[in-house]
């Protein structure tokens, strides 16, 4: 276990994990312990906002894992994110109990409103946190497994796969908009009160959720690093670069793809589950194909196949979105977002981190060479390079 961890942590990964860990500790402390008058105080709304960015970052990380390392461009990852969110939302709805507008101890408000007589079967068990938490993994994971099992076995690749993932999220969007689906229809799930007995709105809960999002991002990052630095990761890159050749070499391409796709969907589900209590609502618009495509551009901006780039891209683009859509420039945000799509693909195909790594590469190679020479001069019989 430890050797996997050590192998997966190169210098930049250590720096990244350290930064996230520092943020996870510092921001809640600055929010809770520093008086509001202080310069160092972090207001609660910023905690919630950045908590949201961290969830997006985890979603971006999950997309980078499959797109950056395995070449699977999913235009429907928002579906897994939203499913995880709905699983959490269902738990939060059940926690409301009789404090709803209609005061029904069993049925959520929208069900009373829609004349439901009994709780639909798939709502049972969501009053228990462990059940809801396992569903956060299971529902996106199982859907991704079934979908991927069909898609990868019949070798649906490239743009075809992108289009059917888009169809998947579009079908779910249409379904969740329906009232008789039992998920609140157009309005979705909202008006949450408690999570594990703590008030969702409370400052302390928000800070804790923020810290949890950081930890989830960190764990997600470590899992991704562990995957991509392993032998499995090398095969994934081989599939990305030359799928038929990898297959001819005797690897079961579809099994590798299915594994990484399912892991990625589970990560997206967790991101959605952490997102919902922080924004206080989940509704079908999260399934909109546009959202999933937007998530892909975060990865492209940061640099695909870099993991840290996905996180950076998600935070940067979303920060820009908040900054521009809240000011006088709001009507021009879509112009900027559109231009971002075009310019990044045209001028910055490696993304920010990817480009930086590309620039550093000669310098790094030089340094490695220098250290190798130094080692060679010390030891007369060096081991062959890996």
């Amino acid at each position: 276990m430890t050797h996997i961890l050590i192998r997966s942590l190169d210098r930049s990964a250590v720096v990244f994990v350290a930064i996230i860990a520092a943020v996870a500790v510092l921001v809640p402390l600055l929010n809770l312990l520093v008086p509001p008058t202080s310069f160092f105080h972090v207001p609660t709304y910023l905690v919630a906002l950045w908590g949201k960015y961290l969830c997006y970052a985890l979603l971006a990380l999950s997309i980078d894992l499959i797109w950056g390392y395995c070449g699977i461009l999913s235009l429907g990852h928002g579906a897994f994110f939203a499913l995880g969110g709905y699983a959490m939302g269902m738990y939060l709805m059940r926690q409301i109990g009789n404090r709803g507008v209609y005061g029904n101890p069993l049925l959520p408000d929208f069900m009373v409103f829609l004349n439901y007589k009994a709780l639909p079967w798939y709502w049972h068990g969501f009053d228990m946190f462990w059940f809801a938490a396992s569903m956060v993994f299971l529902v996106p994971g199982v859907l991704a497994f079934i979908f991927g099992w069909f898609a990868f076995r019949s070798r649906v690749t490239g743009v075809y796969l992108s289009i059917i993932t888009q169809a998947l999220t579009y079908a779910l969007l249409l379904g969740f908009f329906r009232n008789d689906f039992g998920f609140g229809g157009n309005n979705g799930l909202t008006d949450f009160k408690d999570i594990l007995g703590f008030n969702v709105q409370a400052q302390g809960t928000r800070a804790a959720l923020f810290a949890l999002s950081c930890i989830a991002l960190m764990i997600g990052f470590l899992i991704c690093r562990a995957i991509v630095t392993s032998k499995l990761g090398k095969i994934l890159v081989a599939i990305r670069d030359a799928e038929p050749r990898t297959r001819f070499l005797g690897y079961r391409v579809e099994s590798y793809k299915l594994f990484v796709f399912t892991v990625s969907a589970c990560m997206a589900g967790v991101a959605g589950a952490l997102y919902v209590p922080q924004v206080g609502i989940i509704n079908p618009s999260e399934f909109a194909p546009g959202n999933s495509i937007e998530a892909v551009i975060w990865v492209a901006v940061g640099g695909r196949g870099t993991l840290t780039g996905a996180v950076l891209g998600a935070v940067l683009v979303n920060y820009a979105k908040t900054f521009f859509t809240s000011g006088a420039l709001a009507p021009y945000w879509l112009f900027m977002l559109g231009a971002l799509f075009v310019l990044v693909t045209l001028l910055l195909p490696r993304g920010i981190i990817g480009t930086l790594q590309h620039w550093w590469a000669p310098w790094r190679a030089q340094r490695i060479e220098a250290s190798a020479q130094k080692a060679a001069s010390r030891a007369p019989h060096p081991n062959p390079a890996e």
Partner: protein, 537 residues
């Protein structure tokens, strides 16, 4: 008092006479007598007069009864004269219809009670049954069919053999049958005949009517009715199938129109153009601008607005398409997924550009006169705009097919589709072909926008609604094959419309999406996939 009685007897006699010879030429005497009788201000006299006038066959009968119905009929008991106050304030003599210049301030309207009002309504119905205008006769017969008013039976029976207009004759027969079925005391043979007539009508009304006699006391009638009910039900099922098929064809043609341009760009260049829907939107807005100019400058040309908009939309969308190809897509060949993202960005920019220029709300695009309205075909209603769109789509498809087959650009396009490198080695300027192909695909999307502006809301989001469906059509039909797109579009359209009555609109759509996802598992390259080396390219 005594003379009143005599008059009533006379009137009754005339009534009997006239009931036999309904459309006998207007007998001057009796008609005028009956009209004069209205001035007596006695309900029973008025009743008799209404019957006499209604059955007189005189052309003045309908205006008089209608005036009576509206309370515009005034009478002078002294001179036994009856006048009609026309709606425009003029006064005419009721019997002759000639204008009169007199003051009638002291005259009262001919009064009615509830029984008489019913008589008047029936008389109006009966008189319109004899109207010289076939459309009004038809309406009257249909009204009788609905009301099953037994009092209209003698009138219909006498009018039926003389009727020359076929559709009116059928309506009369159906009305007669409806009355007979509602009358348990009518002879059994004629009622059985009536069941046959109603069965041939074969629509929902017929079914409802037959259901009323399915448990008739007469076993023979009940039996025929039950047989007729199952016959009508199968006719209805057939027609609803025909209707679903028509809706499906209509939806399929819309899908085909939206997808056909995409099929070309995707097929030839392997490029996923997410901004394709925005080309459709550009076409629709071009139509809007053309119509605005026509409305303000040349209102007489409105009916030609679509014809003017078609080439303009082709040009606008085509030029924008070429600009996108030269400016962005050219640099991304071989990187299909990046192209997808870049064109998505372009679609966002175009949507927002249109939103800032034209506003976020729906803009009104009118239907020219030849595209509005509908006609009946059997039991289904076909609107002209849908029909024209089907025709137009097939036309565009045919032109495109011929273009690909017989022009040099078409030849080059097909060559590049099949093997880009080989085509380049043969001296085809592939990058020029790419630009023109993209322009052509976008231009077709533009003219699709002209057609879709007639049936959809022209808003900045117009294109978004079609993009996923168009992809489904192209992917389902198979890339690089126009026939595949045609079959794909109509299959999806018809399947969708046949699923809709069973599952509801949204579930039908979801079912179609799921079916396509499953279908792609079976045939990852669509129904009509290209074979050979092109597949891996």
């Amino acid at each position: 008092m005594f003379d009143r009685l005599i008059r009533r007897v006379c009137a009754a006699a005339f009534l009997c006479l006239l009931a036999v010879a309904l459309t006998a030429p207007a007998a001057a005497g009796p008609f005028e007598d009956a009209v004069a009788q209205l001035s007596n201000d006695s309900f029973s006299d008025t009743d008799a007069a209404i019957s006499a006038i209604a059955s007189s066959g005189n052309e003045r009968a309908l205006p008089i009864i209608q005036a009576l119905q509206d309370g515009r009929l005034v009478a002078d008991p002294a001179s036994k004269k009856v006048y009609i106050k026309e709606r425009d304030g003029k006064v005419t003599d009721a019997a002759s219809g000639e204008g009169v210049a007199a003051s009638f301030a002291n005259l009262g309207s001919v009064r009615l009670n509830n029984r008489l009002r019913r008589a008047v309504d029936a008389a109006v119905g009966a008189l319109t049954l004899q109207s010289p205008d076939p459309v009004r006769r038809l309406q009257a017969a249909q009204a009788v069919f609905k009301s099953r008013d037994a009092s209209a039976l003698p009138l219909i029976e006498s009018a039926l053999p003389k009727e020359t207009n076929a559709s009116v004759k059928r309506a009369f027969a159906e009305a007669q049958a409806a009355i007979l079925l509602a009358k348990p005391d009518a002879p059994e043979t004629s009622r059985i005949e009536a069941v046959t007539v109603i069965r041939d009508r074969g629509d929902q009304d017929a079914l409802a009517l037959l259901n009323t006699v399915a448990n008739d006391p007469s076993p023979l009638v009940a039996q025929t009715a039950q047989a007729a009910i199952s016959a009508v039900q199968s006719t209805l099922a057939l027609w609803s199938g025909v209707q679903n098929a028509w809706y499906g064809i209509s939806l399929g043609s819309v899908l085909l129109l939206a997808a056909i341009g995409l099929a070309i760009t995707f097929g030839v260049m392997g490029v996923i153009n997410m901004a394709h829907g925005e080309m459709v939107m550009l076409g629709a807005y071009t139509t809007f601008v053309v119509q605005e100019v026509i409305r303000t400058r040349y209102p007489g040309l409105f009916d030609y607005s679509l014809l003017i908009a078609l080439p303009l939309a082709f040009l606008v969308a085509g030029l924008v398409g070429i600009a996108i190809e030269r400016g962005v897509i050219r640099f991304l060949y071989g990187r299909a997924l990046e192209t997808l993202l870049a064109t998505w960005g372009i679609s966002l920019i175009m949507q927002q550009a249109v939103r800032t220029t034209f506003g976020p709300t729906n803009r009104e695009v009118g239907n020219p006169s030849w595209m509005s309205g509908a006609f009946e075909l059997g039991q289904i209603t076909i609107t002209y705009n849908r029909l024209w769109i089907v025709v137009f789509t097939l036309g565009v498809f045919a032109v495109l097919l011929l273009m690909l087959r017989y022009t040099s650009l078409g030849l080059e396009m097909r060559a590049v589709t099949q093997n880009r490198r080989m085509a380049a080695s043969m001296g085809i300027a592939t990058s020029r072909v790419d630009a023109l192909t993209f322009g052509l695909g976008s231009g077709i999307a533009g003219i699709a926008g002209v057609a879709l502006s007639q049936i959809d809301n022209v808003s900045p989001n117009l294109g978004q609604g079609y993009i996923i469906d168009s992809f489904m059509v192209v992917v389902f039909g198979g890339v690089g094959n126009l026939w595949g797109t045609l079959v794909g579009a109509f299959t999806l359209g018809i399947a969708n419309k046949f699923l809709e009555p069973v599952a509801g609109a949204v579930l039908a759509k979801i079912a179609i999406l799921v079916l396509i996802i499953l279908f792609i598992q079976k045939r990852p390259r669509g129904m009509f996939a290209l074979k050979g080396r092109a597949v891996e390219a």
